[in-house]
């Protein structure tokens, strides 16, 4: 236990404390000018008075961690779960978009990788487009996708999932192309001596061998999916999700709301990464401890 504390917890804890300290200093420096301007000129003055004024600001430029936490706590526990003011509900919407988009990107990305590995034509023609697709800033095309898909009747979750899929298929395709091509020549020769069909080579060799490439790719895709989901919630028309709260917060100068959305977005990403790690752990166990 003490070993764990010294080796793992202590370094992380120290960095956290340093960051928190820096945060409070920064919050004071950034908020003090405004707080001073709002202070009662007849009231007490001096450093501690400014600190107190900073502490009780309604719309600080940079809220302190405890203000963010308090705000989050208030939003989650003092609102019914069905209320749009409840951050958990908004996180749920974003999670829904991220997961649906991941599923879309995962299936599409894997299918594309299978096609690229098995067809020379696809290999030569599609790969440059796959890479090209990621050079377009997602922020630029997200509104266009929303409008275009909205016009043909796709509203709500579908267009947002499409945007997330667009972002998250890329690491999956790149990883799976590499993974499906990773059998050694000898393993492929072996399958040939058994007169195995292409489908059998795929299910018995290429797919299982590609798993060690799938999980790192999935982790990248998960990180992209949360970003993608939030970007998809920004364009006009989107009213739910952490992205919409971020936007609302920036309109009304509600910095606590924005920071709360950011905190929950990272919690969501960590949870999804955790789920991938659990799946990876199970597969590793089934394979005797190695992937």
């Amino acid at each position: 236990m003490t070993d764990f504390f010294r080796a793992r917890a202590l370094p992380v804890l120290s960095v956290t404390l340093v960051l928190l300290a820096a945060w409070y200093v920064a919050a004071y420096c950034l908020n003090a000018p405004q707080a001073e301007a709002l202070m009662d000129p007849d009231g007490p003055q001096g450093f501690w008075a400014v600190v107190q004024a900073v502490w009780s600001m309604d719309r600080p430029v940079l809220p302190t961690p405890d203000e963010i936490a308090g705000n989050l706590f208030d939003s989650i526990f003092n609102n019914p779960i069905t209320s749009p003011r409840n951050f958990l509900l908004q996180t749920f919407y974003t999670a829904q978009t991220a997961i649906a988009g991941l599923a879309l990107g995962g299936v599409f990305g894997t299918a594309l990788a299978i096609g690229i590995v098995h067809s020379r034509v696809l290999d030569r023609s599609v790969m440059p487009w796959v890479i090209g697709s990621q050079t377009i800033p997602i922020l630029a095309i997200a509104p266009m996708v929303m409008v275009a898909l909205g016009n043909i009747g796709f509203t709500g979750l579908a267009p947002k999932a499409a945007i997330v899929g667009y972002l998250s298929f890329f690491p999956i395709t790149v990883g799976m192309v590499k993974g499906l091509r990773s059998p050694e020549p000898m393993q492929l020769d072996l399958m040939r001596t058994y007169n195995a069909s292409g489908a059998e080579i795929f299910t018995k060799l290429r797919w299982p061998v590609s798993m060690s490439f799938l999980f790192p790719a999935l982790k990248v895709a998960v990180a992209l999916s949360v970003t993608g989901a939030i970007v998809a919630e920004l364009p006009t028309g989107a009213t739910v999700g952490l992205g919409a709260r971020l936007l609302a917060g920036s309109y009304y100068g509600q910095t606590c709301m924005m920071w709360g959305a950011l905190v929950l977005a990272s919690v969501l990403a960590l949870t999804l990464i955790g789920a991938v790690r659990v799946a990876e752990f199970w597969l590793r166990q089934a394979r005797g401890g190695r992937l």
């Binding site: 020769d189 394979r287 005797g288």
Partner: protein, 257 residues
């Protein structure tokens, strides 16, 4: 009946500067029940010849019959088991499931394939290791698993490509005994590629000596050694005489230059 009949085999590989003649006018006949070793220095085409028999490398010219069929048909009929230079096991499958791989591809039903895998593991002294994963075993044991896998569907022909080349001498001796006993017990036909003279002499009924650039057969040596062999055989004058004959043939082919 001849299991393998090769006549005037030529295999030429395209290369950047000039084509490489891997095999030139190679004739080879292997009768049922023979244990034939192909021996020679690196680059003499012994592996290429074995791969041609297995239909893993295409012929440039010549005729090749395996079990009276073309090499391609023979492969499609799963005429042979093949043991590679490395174990080539699938690390995500445990030992037993590695041995069952060819049986799955043959669509054998689950209970039959479990039973067959157990028999084959037993045959190679691996019964206790069925649930281990390949990377948990030593190199010698991994190669034994790969032999069990090659034998799992009971092929009448076993092709082995320097299977013990990467192993230490003690392990190699042990595996030579294993292979010899398997051959004696099953009566199958074996073609064995090696660059070890004692290994070739110990295992074979016939030794095919090859030489490089271009790869060709120099000499075929019939071994008069008794069918049943123990490691001590290697110290007898008869054994040493055959080993000497092989070495002389290799020298004539300038293998030592």
């Amino acid at each position: 009946m001849n299991v393998i009949e090769a006549e005037k085999l030529n295999i030429v590989f395209a290369a950047a500067d000039r084509p490489v003649v891997a095999l030139q006018d190679v004739d080879l006949t292997v009768a049922a029940g023979d244990f034939v070793s192909l021996i020679g220095p690196s680059g003499c085409g012994k592996t290429t010849l074995l791969r041609a028999i297995a239909d893993l490398t295409a012929l440039t010219s010549g005729t090749l019959r395996v079990n009276g069929m073309s090499a391609d048909e023979a492969r499609r009929n799963r005429a042979y088991g093949y043991v590679f230079q490395a174990p080539a096991l699938f690390p995500w499958r445990n030992v037993k499931r590695n041995v069952m791989l060819p049986l799955e591809l043959l669509k054998m039903d689950v209970s039959a394939r479990e039973q067959r895998a157990a028999e084959n593991l037993e045959l190679l002294g691996l019964s206790e290791f069925g649930r281990k994963f390949p990377w948990q075993l030593s190199g010698g044991m991994q190669q034994r698993v790969s032999i069990a896998r090659a034998l799992s569907f009971k092929p009448s022909l076993l092709l082995m490509d320097e299977p013990f080349g990467a192993l230490d001498e003690i392990t190699r001796d042990n595996l030579n005994l294993h292979v010899h006993e398997l051959w004696r017990r099953t009566g199958m036909t074996c073609v064995f590629v090696t660059h070890s003279i004692p290994e070739a002499v110990f295992l074979s009924t016939r030794i095919v000596v090859m030489s490089p650039r271009p790869g060709r057969v120099l000499k075929v040596i019939e071994s008069g050694l008794p069918a049943s062999r123990a490691l001590e055989l290697r110290e007898t004058p008869e054994f040493i005489a055959i080993a000497h004959e092989v070495r002389e043939a290799l020298r004539e082919g300038h293998s030592y230059d």
